[in-house]
């Protein structure tokens, strides 16, 4: 197996995520075949691929939400169930009913539930942690708002705050940038970088090819199998993208064009904001 070089600062400690020969099938039709993946500590991995490539499926399989047909997954050298408190999760925003009768604070407090165990109520310190996380995503003034009264970007920030409240070492994020405004997008990426600087590992499903190389230091190009995986500059090539997107050149040319235009104008997403 030709695994990419591992840049783990503590060579003896187990990898945050190791996936070996993973195959996942929905009603006998495979969605992911033979996935091999080793994620070193402190990296931000962007999972990129066309619709139906199995990006969300991979995240769900890692957490044991879907039955695995073959292969294995280890989180910090253990099965997911044993490492559950070390993994934070940001699901897709559309996966929940935002009319649910809870406020932003209630949602963020759920991030503490995993550490509480059964029979225990959130303590004062749990509430303080939740407040701090809300503050970090600049949502503290909205703590008492019912979640349906928040904008899409604000809802996404609440989800991020809930994941922060989990105080985990590995974060799995499913499309955190979908349907958010530019301000939220840059706020989220700032928080992701901060988490990285604290030595945390992040795996982020992403759909926007134009921003992917700016946001991630590693990229997993996925289309039901691993098309390419490694450092962004090695993976994000025309040829690999063409392989992943299966000759859908219209998308590629569109992306290439918009990237070229952005480079010409010197516009990074941060510059676009102000």
């Amino acid at each position: 197996m030709s695994a990419p070089p591992i840049t783990d600062p503590h060579p003896k400690s187990p990898l945050p995520l190791e996936v070996h020969d993973l195959t996942v099938a929905y009603t006998k039709r495979p969605v992911l075949y033979g996935i091999d993946l080793e994620v070193p500590q402190g990296s931000i991995v962007g999972v990129v691929g066309p619709n139906g490539a199995g990006k969300s499926t991979l995240i769900k399989a890692i957490m044991g939400l879907l039955p695995v047909a073959s292969g294995w997954i280890e989180v910090f050298g253990e099965p997911f169930k044993k490492a559950v408190t070390r993994v934070g999760y940001v699901p897709q925003r559309e996966s929940v009913d935002w009319d649910f009768p809870v406020n932003a604070m209630d949602v963020v407090l759920m991030g503490r539930y995993g550490r509480l165990g059964p029979f225990k109520r959130p303590s004062k310190s749990d509430k303080e942690i939740a407040m701090a996380c809300l503050d970090k995503v600049k949502m503290l003034p909205y703590a008492k708002r019912q979640i349906s009264n928040l904008s899409g970007g604000q809802q996404q920030r609440v989800f991020l705050a809930r994941a922060l409240a989990q105080e985990s070492d590995l974060y799995l994020m499913d499309e955190p940038f979908v349907g958010v405004d530019a301000a939220t997008e840059s706020a989220i990426i700032e928080i992701l970088r901060e988490l990285q600087s604290q030595g945390k590992t992040l795996i982020v499903v992403h759909h926007d090819l134009t921003t992917a190389p700016d946001y991630f230091d590693r990229i997993l190009l996925l289309n039901m199998r691993v098309v390419a995986y490694g450092k962004t500059k090695d993976v994000f090539t025309f040829e690999n993208l063409q392989n992943a997107y299966g000759g859908r050149l219209s998308i590629l040319s569109e992306v290439a064009l918009s990237r070229a235009r952005k480079k010409a104008e010197g516009d990074t997403p941060e510059n676009l904001l102000r």
Binding site: Y89, S95, D97, F100, M110, Y113, G114
Partner: protein, 514 residues
């Protein structure tokens, strides 16, 4: 058939009733739970209001009853002296409580149809439980019904998994299929020559008086179980209801919790069947919870409210059933719940329809008041800030309106303590000669509104690059909506401007009266 709860109207001895098989009265065993007098008083109080509303409908239905006997009936019920009344009240209270609490989870999880499916699916189980020893043994019926309910839910899951049919179709089919089977079985049983067969028809429409002491015991156990489990696992139930995937990701046993909730729900349905009936028990699950959902934005308050509404509806149904001829409890309980829902729909403090209308009206009145103040400011500004007193006719010209309307507006200002009449005793009200001035509060508010208007115009022209002749209409609306915090930000952004894009003064709050 007469209402089996009714016994107070003609106080014949209880004996003959007991021997009459068609009436099926389960009267006082010695072990009937008794209520403390204080509790009785509480029920009485909460029900007096209900008496008032139900009396009209009641009088229309039962013409042969005189006013006194109706009152006697009501008092008879409220005194809770008769064991059968106590059983019915206690039973419907517990049923309303369980259904309200558990139904809340169905409503927030968008599983309302599941309640319907479960309640219909249990009917064959009820029939089987009855066949067990040819009597209405609560435990046998509970076991049979629970088995049938779980089989129904499992079938729905299986159809969903193996075909590409969606859950709602699967539920609809299972519901109807099980119900059809249940009707056939109960009809066969009722036609069989078994002695104690009359109880089964109560399962269709419900009769609170058909509750036995055994049923009450079972109900109490289920209610206690519900309370204990929800208190112990509130955060787990909340998490799996809001975000199943996340609950799984943090290591909660999602499936176990889900089936625990389903089992509780089945128990609640089974014990409610006799009082509410198969057809309507799902309404008792959904309606109180839906009313609570309209009134609150927090799950724990929703649970409390739904439990309260369920209990209220339950007692209401039992009460009206006691007063009326031939009316089964189930439909009355459901009507009570529906009444509560309608009240919540119209009068809810946040989302109520009537509340919204009133709020909109108050908003319109406030805007009218502020526009009048603004016009007064313009009059003052036109006099180079010299004059402080103005005539009604002047203001009518400025506002481009008629005298009576303007006078009404000024009277509203006076009522709001923002203006006062000058010499109002001497001048006829509608002559247009009456004069007024603004109070300190009136001037403050007038300056604020004009400031909002002109700040917004300036912001639109400077920051949003609007043409200066396009900004007025937008500012006319926005001036009423922006609060002090936005004003501060606007002032900071525009570097504390003094003049608007048309060169007019942007007044400070105390521009006129320092």
């Amino acid at each position: 058939m007469r209402s089996v709860l009714r016994k107070g109207r003609d106080r014949r001895p209880v004996g003959p009733h007991r021997s009459n098989p068609t009436l099926n009265i389960r009267t006082a065993g010695p072990s009937i739970p008794t209520l403390h007098p204080k509790q009785g008083a509480f029920f009485a109080l909460s029900l007096i209001a209900i008496c008032a509303t139900s009396s009209i409908a009641h009088a229309a239905k039962i013409g042969d009853m005189s006013e006194t006997s109706w009152t006697e009936q009501a008092l008879d019920f409220l005194s809770l002296e008769q064991p059968v009344v106590r059983t019915a009240v206690l039973g419907t209270l517990l049923i309303g409580f369980c259904c309200g609490v558990l139904g809340s989870f169905l409503v927030v999880r968008k599983l309302s149809l599941l309640g319907d499916t479960l309640s219909h699916a249990v009917l064959p189980g009820v029939a089987l439980g009855f066949l067990w020893n040819a009597s209405k043994d609560p435990w046998a019926i509970l076991i049979g019904a629970t088995a049938a309910g779980i089989l129904g839910v499992a079938l729905v899951g299986w159809i969903k998994q193996t075909t590409h049919l969606k859950e709602d179709s699967a539920m609809g089919m299972v519901l109807a299929g099980f119900y059809g089977l249940g009707i056939c079985m109960t009809t066969v049983i009722q036609n069989m020559a078994m002695g104690n067969k009359s109880g089964l028809d109560k399962f269709f429409f419900g009769q609170a008086a058909a509750l036995s002491t055994g049923d009450i015991k079972l109900l109490s156990i289920i209610s206690l179980l519900t309370v204990v489990l929800i208190l112990l696992f509130y955060k787990e139930f909340l998490a799996i209801s809001f975000d199943k995937g996340f609950a799984h990701a943090i290591g909660m046993p999602v499936q176990v919790l889900h089936y625990a909730l389903m089992a509780l729900l089945t128990f609640a349905i089974v014990v409610s069947l006799q009082a509410v009936g198969v057809v309507l028990v799902s309404a008792l699950l959904i309606t109180p919870a839906a009313a609570a959902y309209l009134l609150t934005d927090r799950m724990h308050w929703m649970l409390c409210l739904a439990a309260g509404f369920g209990m209220l509806a339950g007692v209401l149904g039992a009460f009206v059933s006691y007063l009326s001829n031939n009316l089964p409890t189930g439909p009355l309980i459901v009507l009570g719940a529906t009444l509560i829902f309608v009240l919540a729909l119209f009068f809810g403090p946040r989302h109520g329809l009537l509340t919204k209308i009133l709020r909109r009206r108050r908003q319109r009145q406030r805007i009218a008041l502020e526009n009048t103040l603004k016009a007064v400011f313009y009059l003052c500004e036109n006099s180079d800030f010299e004059r402080r007193e103005f005539g009604v006719s002047e203001l009518a010209v400025e506002r481009n309106s008629n005298l009576p309307a303007i006078e009404r507006e000024i009277r509203n200002l006076v009522k709001a303590n923002m203006a006062g009449w000058i010499d109002d005793s001497n001048v006829p009200a509608l002559s247009g000669q009456a004069r007024f001035q603004l109070t300190k509060e009136g001037w403050y508010r007038a300056c604020e509104i004009v400031r909002n208007h002109r700040l917004w115009e300036l912001y639109l022209t400077n920051a949003a690059s609007y043409e200066s002749d396009h900004v007025h209409d937008d500012a006319e609306e926005t001036e009423h909506l922006i609060g002090e915090s936005i004003v501060k930000r606007l002032e900071a952004r525009l570097e504390n401007p003094i003049h608007d894009p048309h060169g007019r003064l942007i007044p400070r709050r105390d521009q006129i009266i320092a």
